[in-house]
C-alpha cells in the first residue's frame, strides 16, 4: 500500500547509465522528452520503442519496475485512449448509435498510449538510476548560472535535497503510526467520508508533531556545523567531471533526434 509509492525511488547499480554525470543525465532526460514529442510517423514510433527498450536493458533494472510506475496512470491512459478513439475525425470505420470509430482515432489512441508509456519509462529511468542527493546536486550545478541574477539556487536545491531525503522517513513514520493506532483497534478502511476523515486524526497529529520535531533537530544540527546557506566560498564535497561516456551519450542523443526528424518522413504500410 504505502510502500508501493515509487516516486523518487532509486535502484543502486553500476550500469553505463548509473555512472553518467548527473548533469548530463538531466539534460539527456529533457532532450529525450523532446525526442518523444518530435516523433510522429509509425516508423519513428517503432524506432523510439526500440531505443527505449534498449535503454531499459542498459540500466539493468527489470522492465517490471518501470511498468509499476505506470499503474497509477492506468485510468488516465484508458481515458485518453477512449477519447482519442471516439473523437477523432477521418473516415468512419464502425458506427453505432452516437459513436463513430475511425482508423485515425485508433491510430491516435495507440500513439498516445505509446508516448505516455515511453515518457513514464524515460523519466523513471532518471530517478531509478540516480540517487536523489546526486540528482539535486546535478540540478544545482546546472542552474548555478541563475545565481548570478540573485536566484537562491543553492537554497532551492538544499530544500529539494531535504524534502527528498525525508520522503522515505516520513513514509516509514506514517506506517509506524498507522500500525500503532491499528494496535489500539483504529479502523481506517470502513465507514463514510466523515468517519474516515476523522479516523485520520490519530495519524496526522503525531505525524505533524514528529515532522516539526525533526525539522527543529535538523536545523539545530545544521547550525552546529556552521551552515550559513550559500555564503561565499562554500565548496562541494563531490565535483562532477565529464567522462568520454558522457560525450558519447550526448552525441547519441543528437543522432536520435536527427533520426526521429528523418523517420517522420518515412511511411510504413501507409501510416
Amino acid at each position: 500500500m504505502i510502500k508501493d509509492i515509487t516516486i523518487g525511488q532509486y535502484f543502486p547499480g553500476d550500469s553505463f547509465i548509473h555512472n553518467l554525470d548527473p548533469r548530463v543525465k538531466i539534460v539527456l532526460a529533457v532532450l529525450y522528452i523532446a525526442f518523444l514529442f518530435i516523433i510522429q510517423s509509425a516508423a519513428a514510433y517503432l524506432f523510439a520503442i526500440a531505443v527505449t527498450l534498449f535503454l531499459v536493458c542498459l540500466t539493468r533494472i527489470p522492465l517490471k519496475m518501470y511498468l509499476r510506475g505506470l499503474k497509477p496512470l492506468l485510468f488516465i491512459l484508458v481515458f485518453t485512449a477512449l477519447l482519442n478513439v471516439f473523437y477523432s475525425s477521418g473516415e468512419p470505420l464502425v458506427t453505432f448509435w452516437i459513436f463513430t470509430i475511425t482508423a485515425q482515432g485508433i491510430k491516435n489512441a495507440i500513439f498516445m498510449i505509446l508516448r505516455i508509456f515511453m515518457l513514464v519509462v524515460s523519466t523513471s529511468m532518471l530517478t531509478y538510476t540516480t540517487s536523489p542527493i546526486v540528482l539535486t546536486g546535478g540540478l544545482e550545478r546546472l542552474l548555478s548560472p541563475l545565481a548570478k541574477i540573485r536566484l537562491p539556487v543553492h537554497e532551492f536545491s538544499m530544500m529539494m535535497t531535504i524534502a527528498l531525503r525525508f520522503i522515505p522517513t516520513l513514509l516509514e513514520e506514517t506506517d509506524k503510526i498507522m500500525n500503532a493506532q491499528k494496535a489500539r483497534g483504529a479502523d481506517f478502511e470502513t465507514g463514510g467520508l466523515i468517519k474516515r476523515a476523522k479516523a485520520l486524526a490519530p495519524i496526522l497529529i503525531p505525524l505533524f508533531i514528529s515532522a516539526f520535531r525533526r525539522a527543529d533537530d535538523l536545523a539545530t544540527a545544521m547550525e552546529c556545523r556552521c551552515y550559513t546557506g550559500s555564503a561565499e566560498g562554500r565548496t562541494h564535497f563531490v565535483e562532477y567531471s565529464m567522462s568520454p561516456s558522457d560525450y558519447v551519450s550526448l552525441v547519441f542523443m543528437a543522432v536520435l533526434i536527427a533520426a526521429a526528424i528523418l523517420l517522420n518522413f518515412v511511411t510504413v504500410m501507409g501510416i
Partner: protein, 287 residues
Amino acid sequence: MNPILKAENLSYVYGAGTPFEKTAIDNINLEIYENEFIGVIGRTGSGKSTLIQHFNGILRPTSGSLYYDGSNCWAKGFSRNMLRFNVGLVFQYPEYQLFEETVEKDIAFGPANMGLSVEEIEKRISDSLHFVGLDDDIRKSSPFEISGGQKRRVAIAGIMAMNPKVLILDEPTAGLDPKGRDDILQKLSEYRREKGSTVIIVSHNMEDVSRVCDKVLVMHDAHVEMFAPVKEVFEHAEKLCSMGLNVPQITRVFVSLKNRGFNVPSSVYTPEQACSAIIDAIGGDTE
C-alpha cells in the same frame, strides 16, 4: 494447557520481488502460554520486531500460520480487531503516537474502539493509570506537556486499558533513566501478577531481561536460536557472545571467575544468586 499464541513455520519476507528483498523471519515455531514473562533478545535486524508484529496481526505471514487460543489468525471469519484487543502491542517509542487533547482521552482510544460503555472506559482509565504508576490529576493534562517518562507511561496505559491477555512491549525502557527503567519493569511484573496475563518484552538490556523474565527467546539471523528459561539461556554465555549479544555483567564476572579456577557456577544472573554463590565458594574453601 493450550498455548495462548502458537507460531507454526512462520516466515515473513520484506519487499518480495524487489532488489531489496529480505527474509525477516524464517520458519519460526514456538508456543507461548498464559502468565509467562518472556524476554526477546537479539541483535538489530535479527527479526524481533517483525516477529512480535505477527503476534497481533499487524503483519500477515508470507507463509506459515499463527494461532491465537487455538484458532488460526488468518482464517476466514477470524476478527483481527479481536486479536489486537487481546494481544496488546506497545511499539518502540510509543510516546510519539499520542494524539489526543488530554491524557484520559488518549487512553480511552483503545477501549472506545472496543465499543465499551462510558462507565467501563472510565474504570479502565483509572485502573491503567494506577498500573503504570501515574496519579489521577494527570488525566486532564495534555499528553504533549508532560515529561518524557510520563508520556511513555501514558502510551503503555493506552494499551493496558484494553485489558489484553498478552501484553507485548518493544523496548519499553529505551531512552529512560535507570530509575524510570526499574519502575516500568516493576509495574509490568505487577501487572502480570494481578491480571494473570502473559507479558513479552523486547530488550537489548540483559540486566532487564534477567531481572524480570522467566523465559528468554533468542533471535539470530531470522531464526529462533534458543527459547528456554533464563538460567539455561545465560549458561550459554559464549554462544550468546558469538552472536554479538551479551550476558548480564554479573554472569560475565562469574564466567571469568570460573575460568580462573574458582569453584563457582557460571549461570549466575542476579546479585542475590551471586551472593549465595560466593558464600558457598568461600565456605567450601575454608572447611
